[in-house]
Amino acid sequence: MVKRTLRNPQAVIGLLLILAVLSAAALAPLLAPHDPNAADLTKKYLAPCADYPLGADELGRCELSRLLYGARASLGISLPVLLILAVLGLFLGTLSACGGQAMDHVLTFICDTFIAFPQLVIAIAVIGILGAGVRSVIFAIVVAMWAWFARMVRSYAALEMGKDYVLAARLAGCGTIKLILLHLIPNILPQFLVYLSTGVASSILMVSGFAFLGLGLPLETAEWGGMLSSARGTLYSHPEMLIYPGVCILIAAAGFNLFGEALRDLLEGEP
Amino acid sequence: MSELVVDNLTITLRKENRALVSGLSFRLGAGESLVLLGQSGCGKSMSCRAVMGLLDRRFAVDGSITLDGTELTGLRERERSGIYGRRIAFIPQNPMTALDPSVPVERQMGETLSLHTNLSRAQRRGRLRQALAGAGLGETERVCASRPGMLSGGMLQRVLIAMALSTGAELVIADEPTTALDVVHRNEIVDTFAALQERGMSVLFVTHDFAAALRLDGKILVMRDGAVVERGSTREVYALPRHEYTKALVRAAALSKGAGHADR
């Protein structure tokens, strides 16, 4: 399976992009030539040069450094979000599928409610309740996306529960929890991995969307969406300020999406 | 006259470079019947599909397949409709999934007819009903108006046979037509094919059922692992099998026959 994945060009490109973004995030302190928040108005809108490889923004901050630290912000939020979503989704989804009809009805109803609810409103409300900061944004995205994950796990789990090997296991006396942990989850895992990968991409897009609207993160944070928001004013004068952060978001999201979709194709046996 | 000549047909699975059929050769003349007999995996269905041009790029087809001199391997897309459906008719293995579930039967049969003939709508209607009756179906109106999901497997199979009749095909290739049926229906279907043969059609019949082959009573090719192990007239091969594998098949057939299956 791993070998097949590595032979798929789309998966490889995706992985490379993911690695690039991860490295940028992890190694930002080492790679960035300047402090991303060091403002120097004398260097306002500096053109790209040796000292400032991508120039400087409206407050004279090094653009490249801000972009690198932006990776930290995006992944620093998206990866924990997906971890929480994975645990929550697996737990609630299997609970819904295996915990009896009543539990299933109740959980499905709650999921449906959250899914029908406008995501942005949930996010703004949660951030508003918890105040600004990384933790709030993480929480906000989790609350906005959990229902989709739970529902996805539930439908896969329900499918698996109907299969013969589950019946056989039950007849052999296998308890429900053991069944879930040893059989159900390992069988759902590959498909779930696809969802996780594309979920990171969605989360990255969401984070930048929120930052763009000015939600959650302090306005001075080096974050791609926030940088785009600041660059709005320079639509006519310095359009490149709008290009760099956007490209970063695109690369990051595309990496995870390419990998996830390639994985999905491999699992579904595309010729 | 229509003669199907298969000469040294070899089918290889490209990825693994494994030969699924090697060196298959036979001739099928007008009004004759030939049975490809063997167990699953022997290559008989593969060979059929090669004749029909239904193998995708995963398979490499070598050798020659000709119908009255026209080479069938490597036919271009545009040329396909001149042969397939018109001169050669195919009866797939599973009639339940052979037709588009969303379209009524008459429309699908009509589609094939209008592709291959210049008949007017009214003429097509008549021809279809004739063919359905010829295939042994009563209730032609109901069948015509139904979607495939509303008909039984046996009825659908007769619809497929009717399609073969309606275009006036010279050769009909049937891929395991008796496999999904019980013994009584099996005999009926074999008799239907025998009747087609009497009308002048050549019949290429693929099966693993010796009893069905015997009933059809023509020539036989016994296949194993992609190669022919024995050939001749069905009766003779059954009476005096020479190859070990054929002997085993004959024994198995005799056992099931002797077990008291309702026959004739």
Binding site: F117, Q119, V121, G246, F256, L258 | I83, T112
Partner: protein
């Protein structure tokens, strides 16, 4: 059939109830004081008494459940009160913002149909070809595009560098072309993925195989048979997106300075306006659930042979 409709109607009511309660709960916990917000609008140094006066006049001193039921009864009467955000009647505000959002989404879905269907068909005709690979890669990238950035790129390309469109919204349909396209791109990408996969599944089916055996060409099989049978997942997806986009357009509206439902919602949440948020959320949820129901019904109508009770 009747049982089905009954069940769906019940779910509809329950989900809307759930959504409205969730709105009140979320905004109630918000921590901002709407009365204070209103009071400080007229007088930044509003005194405690003034804030309290506003609170009483707006009925904000009553406990949450009471306010909820007041809102609920108002909903049935068609009057849910004044918006804290805009200080106008909420229904009037909605009358102004809904058409904008609906036009945006409507046009976006039109883009989706016009672009996705032909592209998917072309891909399914020659799977594995150069065009197919290109489209598949492009669709994954399309899913990864931040919508607001795409909006900016479109503005730079078509409004700044080449002044075909204007940065600020032009009157009439012209002003919706760019924003609806920006909104549509991720949807087109997802749509092509699903439609192409569904079409290929049909093209690999037994009936497509037998059709080939009868001499029918690939193109004809694709358009006359595969297309119809490939519709169900696509119809479902289309309707889901319809519902999802109604409120999800906030960022696009922001970029193109349109006053649609998304922007309005954001403002209302910021102003801690429970009644306005609840009203909007319920409307959005209703559209979402109805759109899903529409999808289900369409599938049942178009493909009745696929319905299994």
């Amino acid at each position: 059939m009747r049982r089905y409709i009954l069940h769906r109607a019940l779910m509809f009511v329950l989900v809307l109830a759930g959504v409205s309660i969730l709105s009140f709960a979320l905004i109630g916990l918000f921590g901002r004081d709407p009365a204070e917000i209103i009071a400080r609008r007229t007088n930044i140094h509003a005194t405690y008494e003034q804030i309290e006066a506003v609170r009483q006049s707006m009925g904000l001193d009553k406990p949450l459940p009471v306010r909820y039921f007041a809102w609920l009864s108002g909903l049935f009467r068609g009057n849910v009160g004044i918006s804290i955000y805009s200080y106008e009647p909420i229904m009037q505000d909605l009358g102004k913002v809904m058409p904008v959002s609906l036009a945006l989404v409507g046009l976006a879905m039109a883009w989706v149909m016009v672009i996705s269907v032909p592209v998917s068909l072309l891909c399914a005709l020659r799977p594995g070809g150069a065009a197919d690979h290109l489209v598949r890669a492009a669709s994954v990238v399309g899913l990864s595009f931040p919508t607001f950035w795409l909006g900016f790129l479109l503005l730079i390309a078509f409004a700044v560098k080449t002044p075909i469109f204007t940065v600020l919204p032009a009157p009439g349909l012209k002003g919706y072309i760019l924003p609806s396209f920006a909104l549509a791109v991720p949807v087109i990408s997802g749509f092509i993925r699903v439609f192409r996969a569904s079409l290929l599944k049909e093209m690999n089916s037994d009936y497509a195989d037998y059709a080939r055996a009868r001499g029918l060409g690939r193109g004809r099989i694709l358009t006359r048979h595969a297309l119809r049978n490939a519709l169900p997942p696509v119809v479902t997806m289309f309707c889901q997106y319809l519902g999802y986009l109604i409120a999800g357009g906030a960022v696009v509206e922001n970029v193109f300075t349109l006053s649609g439902l998304g922007t309005y919602l954001v403002g209302c949440v910021a102003a801690a306006d429970s009644t306005a948020v609840a009203t909007c959320a319920v409307i959005v949820a209703a559209i979402f659930v109805l759109a899903n129901l529409l999808g289900d019904l369409l599938n049942r109508l178009l493909c009745p042979w696929m319905v299994r009770e």
